[in-house]
Symmetry: D2
Subunit: 375 residues, 4 copies
């Protein structure tokens, strides 16, 4: 008989959208995966004690904390999940590592490249498990694609096209909000990290790029007249991977009709792959083999034969959803703590993404190709 | 501030596939929906105490029971979830109602129409919340379709085609298993209930039908030679709904390539709808309005504008999965207990399905149309 | 060097929709296929000499005829193409065969089963090439499906579902026209023949069936009030093929949103096939072979590797259209005349279709399964 | 009654793939469109008299010419269609205009930008109808998109992504052919013109671009060892349209799985459009209007409500194919000759395309954005 799972005390900073997603994931992960560690929802912190109290009751935590410092300091908290604003990521993570606690941090790693560098340094110095929340890359579908590529299923890859497109600001008359201020909240800061991470995970490093970054709607209506928008609505870049393959990345928050346009197409010398997160249980695979008359893109429905699918659903076609990605992350984070095995993606992957973004801004400024910053 | 949720002790009978799905749902539902009742995983029972013990540890229940009678009798158990073999449904449900406990029962309602009738009688006599687990009908997509039809969005409905097709026995050489024995395990017993329920939910009662039910592969390989198969591999029926619309239902466990072919097409005088569970976040809607040149089937991605979507995912396109359907069921069951409000679907819906199935077997026997048994 | 093509004088009866399609096909077929016989557009006949004159100028025929008798009698006419109302098919064909001229006849073969029988008798007695215009079955896609089935690519076929659905009378308020009168103009008379032909071509004979045929909208607006509709709006039948496979056929002229819903799904023990004429250059093929993780429906785009594709388009993806089907028919008809080789489908296939239809009307009347009339 | 069509003598230079397509189109166009001018297939020229003789017999021309000069000089030839190698375009066109004959020329306009400039000059000096064969832009679907954009159906356009991708050289071991030599035969020379023309037709002029052009497989197997490839396998460019919109164009002959990947996506402030030539009878349209719950991309099947569809097919869903595009071109060329009305696209559109290509080569060389050459 397998061993009784041990409990681990979790502190969650943030109870907004991602905070809730993690609260649900931590509640469910033990029953889904029979993890060796079963999360005990210990402390939740938020922007105010009142908020934290509300989240505590909503999600079933034992206690609410007035701020993240109290949470990190709480001896019952053994691991910290950060789902708070970007600007706070670094301080929370550094404190947690200093207190000897493992950290899961939502993307992006921090608010700037120096934040990201500092966070990687703190994480690696601590020797503790550290994980970043690039959840989309964790679908059974994209994990299967990663496996296909690693096995050479489509030969040598010659082209990667990725996009992360949504339409929440597509209407030129949508009013100005906090999303319209600050580089971190623009398309490059907010949407690009997921797809850049995906590109790196599937293709390896980006060696050089040429980017265009633009604010399509320079003002938006405010209560007292037009408000200037100081961040980007859409951006694109031509890229050269270190492998030699070329590619293109596109990001937009004004892509009318797109809701979760985390999508990519990959061409290889022996096949091709297509994926779109709006249809997250499907991988399209073309293989240049067998008689010409029966070749075509095969619509593969993820199922028990694909990574991380089985624990959710008995059979193929049942389908995983958004929340399942977060549960997979929770499983890996807990396993890393339990066993000391490496986890993926780590803070270092978050830093790589930050460097691509930094290079893109410089390239867009100069209107030419630039090599991507490396350490 | 909203009230602190109250706890409710749950007893779960069965820890197999559906048992696990309910264990996960009960763990997560409070954080997802902020239900007034938060489940406390009290007792789990299974076919043996050893199994029950294993499930207890896997899913985080407080205690394991040697059999369902002990579970039902346990005073800490306030509500019972039945995810055990069909043949046990009736006895468990009757005992639970007698003990004053609400019951959620997996489909089908029982192993026979007399079981189903007895269970409805016991449920209704008790006055307690009773719910049946037709989970597929609870996707945001199908709930949205139900709403569209109720609103007359496609006019008067003239045609409904539904299917529940899978391919787990498509290979003629697949060995004989328990699935090949007993009416309850055939296509009509195992797959048809979901789609018949869906047809009834969307279209209203079926008045008459003409069915064909067949065992395509009469024997399957066994360890000592061919084993006779005594239940059905595929079945179809032409139907006449009480509304006057016609339709067709098809069920198969040998539909090669189909994994979760719970799918339907509906034609109305002013529009049409298509849905396929393999793509559970999409509804296709055609409306015969506006200029001819811009008409077509619209691929609607479920999102915050659709029923039951929002608590899982902030935005459209994030996507719900199989497990989310079970969480929705748990939410409704708990709300019914908390507030006494009606729940849907009840045991009575399970009985309606059983009557359609019973009529179908009679019709197939006689080779002609028969009216559906009504009470 | 290949031989100079010889000319053949063609007489075309009817210049309406199908008449034009044949006029275009006859003009183009020589350049497309380098047929041994090059059509010379000799005489066209229509319902009046004035109409015939107009068609002559429109399509480039040498002469217009006052009626089909003159056309058939014209010595320069060596082969006759019938694209006139159903009621005239028999008389024209009989006269043409009597005059020793090959005949291509649009579907359905005649206005009744006795017409159809007489036409087959006349055709076969003449020993002359005779062909019926089931054009949809002649796409590269469906011809490829026929080949796949013949080769056993999906194993033993267990299920065939076909439909021919359109929506030209979906609006309950669409005014009464000639389409609302006469069995030949109802769904069974007008739309069903194409898909029944397809089912027979792909699956072999239908042994028995149980049909439902209905007039959904019993009256339609006329200039002086409601006009009764005396033919069918939609129809369905469960079928048993002689091969042992089961199936379902559905026909509708009120299927809102469907424009050319000539579509089928086929399940076999080793694979499955899907096709929809609205996407006429695609065949979906599933094969239960290779690793589970890469199985799925493959979207095959017709191309040079498929039957009859190459002469139209150099490469895959270029796409064939409606007119191309008619050109393929013209090619086969001309080749049959030139070489005496068998053509397909012949009048006899038209008769088989008529017998299925006749049986369906009887079955719907009696509400039970009936064996299909055989000769 | 409409007037009897007048005949016009046509000379066709080239009988290969495009030559045949034009021969078929010229044979069929009169019956399809009832054009005022009915083509008389007068003279065909090819690379040798023997070839020309074979094409003459194949396509039904009256005479074969030993070379294009004889064809142009033939008094019975009133209009010239050029479907010969790029290097010959300029000389043929100049001679034809000099002889007072209208010219239809296959794309690209010539083998170089100076050819293109000279051809526009000759065409415009002559005052005669001149047309270039960008056939893909002439589908009912893309013509409908053009109309939608002109009407502002998707608001202000902010993004255009286009590609022309095929896979005929995707296999790294495909042997070296003439396609691997010469700029005109590379991806930019051979595939890019169609999609650049499309982008210009739908979006207006390109103001500036930044391109990457690459030979992925620098050698290919030859009979005596590896042969160097001197032209490009794939290319991409970021573009800025004069309208202010941004975009991306991608061209590839190594895009495994792509057969006719002439495809685009357009985002506007009020909607979006998608099209893929592999599915040439479909336009996907999203409009940001009406209730959120029923929004989505509508799959519009081209039909009688769309430009240039009706003459081919009576109803929607019947479908147009590759050959129909060439017939539409023939119709417009003949109408321009008959009536003197402007035709589209003219040689000038071909020159615009050539200038974008020229700029792309320069930009790729310099690794930076360049303004597009204007006259």
């Amino acid at each position: 008989m397998r061993q009784e799972p041990r409990e681990i005390g979790i502190g969650l900073v943030g109870g907004g959208y991602m905070g809730k997603a993690h609260a649900v994931a931590l509640s469910a992960v033990g029953a889904v995966f029979q993890t060796a560690l079963r999360p005990r929802l210990e402390v939740i912190a938020a922007s105010s004690l009142a908020s934290a109290e509300r989240y505590r009751a909503d999600f079933g935590f034992a206690r609410a904390a007035a701020d993240w410092r109290a949470l990190v300091a709480d001896p019952a908290v053994e691991a910290v999940v950060i789902a708070a604003p970007q600007a706070t990521h670094r301080a929370i993570a550094e404190a947690a590592f200093a207190a000897g606690k493992s950290v899961f941090c939502e993307k992006p790693l921090g608010a700037s490249i120096s934040d990201a560098e500092a966070m990687v340094a703190a994480a690696e110095a601590s020797g503790l498990p550290n994980m970043i929340g690039f959840n989309y890359v964790r679908t059974p579908a994209t994990q299967f694609v990663r496996k296909l590529l690693a096995e050479g299923a489509i030969g040598e890859v010659t082209w990667f096209r990725g996009e992360h497109t949504e339409d929440f600001l597509a209407d030129a008359d949508a009013p100005a909000t906090w999303r319209c201020q600050g580089r971190a909240n623009g398309t490059m800061g907010d949407l690009a990290p997921h797809m850049i991470n995906c590109a790196l995970a599937l293709m390896g490093d980006i060696a050089a790029l040429s980017a265009q970054i633009e604010t399509v709607h320079p003002t938006r209506p405010g209560p007292e007249g037009p408000v200037p928008v100081d961040n980007d609505d859409q951006a694109q870049m031509m890229v050269r991977f270190s492998s030699g393959a070329s590619g293109h990345l596109y990001f937009s928050r004004i892509a009318t009709g797109r809701k979760m346009g985390y999508a990519y197409e990959i061409h290889g010398t022996k096949g091709a792959i297509r994926f779109d997160q709006e249809d997250q249980n499907v991988v399209w695979l073309y293989r240049a083999e067998g008689p010409e008359a029966t070749r075509g893109f095969t619509k593969i429905l993820t199922g028990p034969a694909h990574p991380d699918y089985l624990p959710f659903c008995q059979g193929p076609g049942h389908g995983t959803g958004y929340q399942d990605q977060i549960i997979i992350e929770a499983r890996d984070f807990l396993e890393a703590i339990a066993t000391g095995t490496p986890v993926w993606p780590t803070f270092r992957e978050g830093l790589k993404v930050a460097r691509v973004i930094e290079t893109a801004f410089a390239s867009a400024e100069e209107g030419r190709w630039l090599p991507v910053l490396q350490e």
